[in-house]
Symmetry: C2
Subunit: 165 residues, 2 copies
């Protein structure tokens, strides 16, 4: 028995467990975003990436590719609009559709993130998940333990140092 009841409850609390770990990872990611001198929230990243890779998308198309609810997309797009990273144009054929485009600033942001931020995050998470094996709960526990031992942003450096020896 650990002192973590969510962990002890196993599959009964899988949803809670996944959510908790996801939020923890996003929180650690936010720190890495700050270090890259970029200003964005973790949840907004997938929207920018989607628009950068797939081109302008309507709200509904974003809902489909992001896998979250339409109101969540509407709000996130609204926030990104306020930040000047995207702009909304009414579709010419169908006046109901709102097409979300990256602005010049948004595109610039996406390019910088593509070269300076995403690779760093992906490498750190990859390192965090190195050699995970076994049942889902086992792997989740291992990730939690590794994060307890070392914050996400330090996993990359840790690996490099280990190799340097």
């Amino acid at each position: 028995m650990s002192d973590d009841i969510i962990r002890d409850l196993g599959l009964l609390c899988l949803g809670t467990r996944l959510k908790r770990l996801g939020e923890r990872l996003q929180g650690e990611t936010l720190g890495m975003i700050d270090e890259a001198d970029l200003t964005i929230q973790p949840n907004q990243c997938p929207v920018i990436v989607a628009l950068h890779r797939l081109g302008p998308l309507s709200i509904g198309e974003l809902v489909g590719t992001l896998g979250i609810s339409q109101p969540a997309v509407t709000r996130t797009v609204g926030l990104l609009t306020e930040q000047g990273l995207v702009e909304i144009k009414r579709s010419t054929e169908d006046q109901r559709r709102r097409e979300v485009h990256l602005t010049a600033e948004g595109d610039s942001f996406a390019r910088r993130a593509d070269t300076h931020l995403w690779p760093v995050i992906e490498a750190a998470v990859t390192e965090l998940c190195t050699d995970l094996k076994g049942p889902l709960l086992r792997q989740l526990a291992e990730i939690e333990d590794r994060l307890d031992a070392l914050p996400l942003r330090d996993h990359l450096t840790a690996k490099k140092e280990a190799k340097a020896r």
Copy 2:
């Protein structure tokens, strides 16, 4: 390339992915709670279980065992208090501590859930996670696919029917 960019981005979006799946599972769980004629939110369940298994706990102790922030615990406890499931007593020795106790109604709720709800949820999630193997992302994708094919609450019945053949 699927039409799910979070999935396509792999480890880069692991946090977002875990959170999304966790929320999905909690959402499906909520449906099962309703079916059991119980009224509670998914996130409140671990608090009830913790108090039922470990006895009265302070806010700080709940923070420790639930692994979430103190303000989150404070609010959840406040909501459970409004619902009459728990009550708060000031500790006699240390006037700063607030001890959270299950009320008679809360205890009754915990007992009912212990026999009628938790086993059902755990069995459904266990069935959902049957024979998962491989890397973390592979297992997550498999869970998502299985949920797409069949809502969580139907996984138990599905298993029983499969066995009956």
